[in-house]
């Protein structure tokens, strides 16, 4: 911390938490999207109704 630093300071913990939360959410979204692409390639549709009929 520099000599001129003066309170109020920002709490770094929530920022760390949010950043981690974003990373986790992005990875989950990436996995979900890649699964959707795979399902689309194999079934030719991503409509839930049509997919249910295939089962």
């Amino acid at each position: 911390m520099g000599a001129g630093a003066r309170p109020p300071y920002t709490n770094p913990i929530p920022q760390g938490l949010i950043l981690t939360g974003i990373v986790v959410a992005v990875s989950t979204t990436a996995l979900a999207l890649s699964l959707i692409i795979r399902i689309w390639k194999q079934c030719g549709t991503i409509e839930a109704d049509e997919l249910r009929e295939m089962d």
Partner: protein, 497 residues
């Protein structure tokens, strides 16, 4: 050696580093990847063994990362409930050994090293979840575990597998968000992330009951989805039945238990704080547990697919454990905690044995598998031992825990649930009898598989080891019971029990 403090950080770091280095080490050679994963799990198991020996001797202990003491730094805390990493290592090690031959057929060659990466990440998540003392760390490990599980369900690349994986992902992502919001709520109202610290800060009475109750609700529901407790179980049967068999064994035996460990951690925070009356939550959990037992067994009776049947049976068994926790008497909590361990053994036996049958014969319904007992006597015998254990017939591993949970129900003055438990066991007995009957006493529909013979040794050995452990743990059942006893008493002490 035993009390070397670094074991506690190594037990989570070794599989993590092993996982990410697997593709680099193996460079596409599946055999090298399998050996590497096996080696990593051996080191991890050794570390876990040291930790369990130490907790048995000295009681709970913790490891502050970077020397920053809690509540400032992140700490790993190892207590008796964390000892569930022992079963993670045991079943994980055997599942890796089993995978070697199984995935040769089940997966495409280039995917195999990544399969081992995902498996090791999965173990990292479970181990980290069980040993961490920090609430946010808990969330991160839970996400490592969940993401790798979604991918493992979908890994075979078949249409149904990807659909099941996607369903699992949606349910899992919602539950993770609930857990994350609740952690945020607890942090906002207490200013701490260390679980023990949160508990004591709540106990000081500085926090109003509404945010606490909301956080409690979010955490409980989030972990209930992970544990697949009725009515939040809908993702489980597809995901567990369609995944490759070693993955099914891990998901059913171990991954759903993470949700239960999570519920135990929530209890540790809230019981200790003594600001909220948890009796209505307990009543709800006991009822949901009872409904899970009956519904899981009821649906299992109508299944023809053997793995689907086993998947529904997991819902029943989760019901037993949650009922044990909800009854909140020493006996039932001990029984429930030990059932986490025993059910992992039993369900891994069943899924791995079922995997052997499917691997060798290529069939998976009870009708097609009729008479398989003559073709693969050892595997079918192991499957029968597992079936007897899960029904809870003495002297097998399933008996003692169910007995303890029933005792707990009577102790808590709710004999109705003891009766429900026995009734559920009868239900479970019905469909396992159906399975054993079809394997041994019916004429084969597909006589050609009478020639196939047993599965290769690296697949048969894990099944037989687990099946014999099911019997051994029935006879030596007092060891885990007395091991977990101090933790259960410590958990319930604030209730005056």
């Amino acid at each position: 050696m035993v009390s070397w403090p670094q074991w506690l950080s190594l037990v989570a770091l070794v599989p993590l580093v092993g996982a990410v280095t697997t593709p680099a080490v193996s460079r596409g050679r599946s055999r090298v990847a399998a050996l590497w994963a096996l080696g990593v799990m051996t080191v991890t198991s050794f570390a876990a063994l040291m930790l369990i020996l130490r907790v048995a001797r000295e009681g709970p202990f913790s490891y502050p990362f970077g020397g920053w003491k809690s509540p400032i730094g992140i700490e790993f805390r190892f207590d008796e409930f964390s000892a569930s990493i022992g079963i993670v290592c045991l079943v994980g090690w055997l599942a890796v050994l089993y995978s070697q031959r199984y995935v040769e057929h089940a997966l495409e060659e280039p995917r195999i090293p990544y399969y081992y990466t995902l498996l090791l990440l999965n173990f990292t998540g479970m181990i980290g979840f069980a040993v961490t003392g920090d609430l946010f760390n808990l969330f991160v490990f839970m996400e490592i575990l969940s993401l790798s599980s979604y991918a493992l369900v979908a890994i075979s690349g078949e249409r149904t597998a990807e659909m099941a994986g996607f369903k699992y992902l949606i349910m899992g992502a919602i539950s993770s968000l609930m857990v994350l919001f609740s952690i945020g709520l607890l942090y906002a109202s207490t200013g701490s992330l260390n679980m023990a610290d949160i508990s004591s800060r709540i106990g000081d009475g500085a926090v109003g009951p509404i945010p606490l109750a909301m956080a409690l609700a979010g955490l409980t529901v989030g972990f209930m989805v992970k544990a697949a407790l009725f009515p939040l179980h809908i993702w489980l049967p597809d995901a567990h039945a369609i995944a490759p068999s070693p993955v099914s064994a891990i998901l059913s035996g171990l991954v759903v238990k993470t949700g239960l460990i999570g519920i135990l951690r929530v209890y540790q925070i809230y019981y200790g704080a003594k600001v909220l009356d948890l009796s209505s939550l307990n009543t709800m959990l006991v009822w949901l547990g009872a409904i899970s037992i009956v519904m899981g067994a009821f649906f299992a009776i109508f299944q023809e697919d053997i793995k689907m049947m086993l998947a529904y049976s997991t819902i029943s068994n989760i019901g037993y454990i949650v009922m044990g926790f909800g009854l909140a008497s020493p006996y039932s909590v001990i029984g429930g905690s030990v059932h986490i361990f025993n059910h992992a053994l039993i369900k891994a036996t069943l899924f791995l044995a079922a995997g052997c049958l499917i691997h060798k014969t290529g069939y998976r319904t009870l009708y097609d598998l009729r008479g398989v007992g003559k073709a693969m006597p050892l595997t079918t015998a192991a499957l029968s031992v597992g079936a007897i254990s899960i029904v809870g017939i003495p002297p097998t591993a399933g008996f003692l825990c169910k007995w303890y949970i029933a005792l707990g129900a009577f102790e808590a003055g709710q004999p109705f649930f003891g009766v429900a438990l026995i009734f559920g066991a009868l239900f479970i007995f019905v469909y396992y009898i159906r399975m054993v009957n079809s394997f041994y006493f019916r004429q084969p529909v597909h006589p050609e598989f009478l020639e196939v013979g047993e599965a290769p040794a690296s697949m048969l050995a894990p099944v037989l080891i687990l099946a014999s452990l099911c019997l051994v743990m029935g006879i030596l059942g007092r060891i885990p019971l007395s091991f977990i006893e101090p933790a259960a008493h410590r958990l319930l002490a604030p209730l005056g029990g």
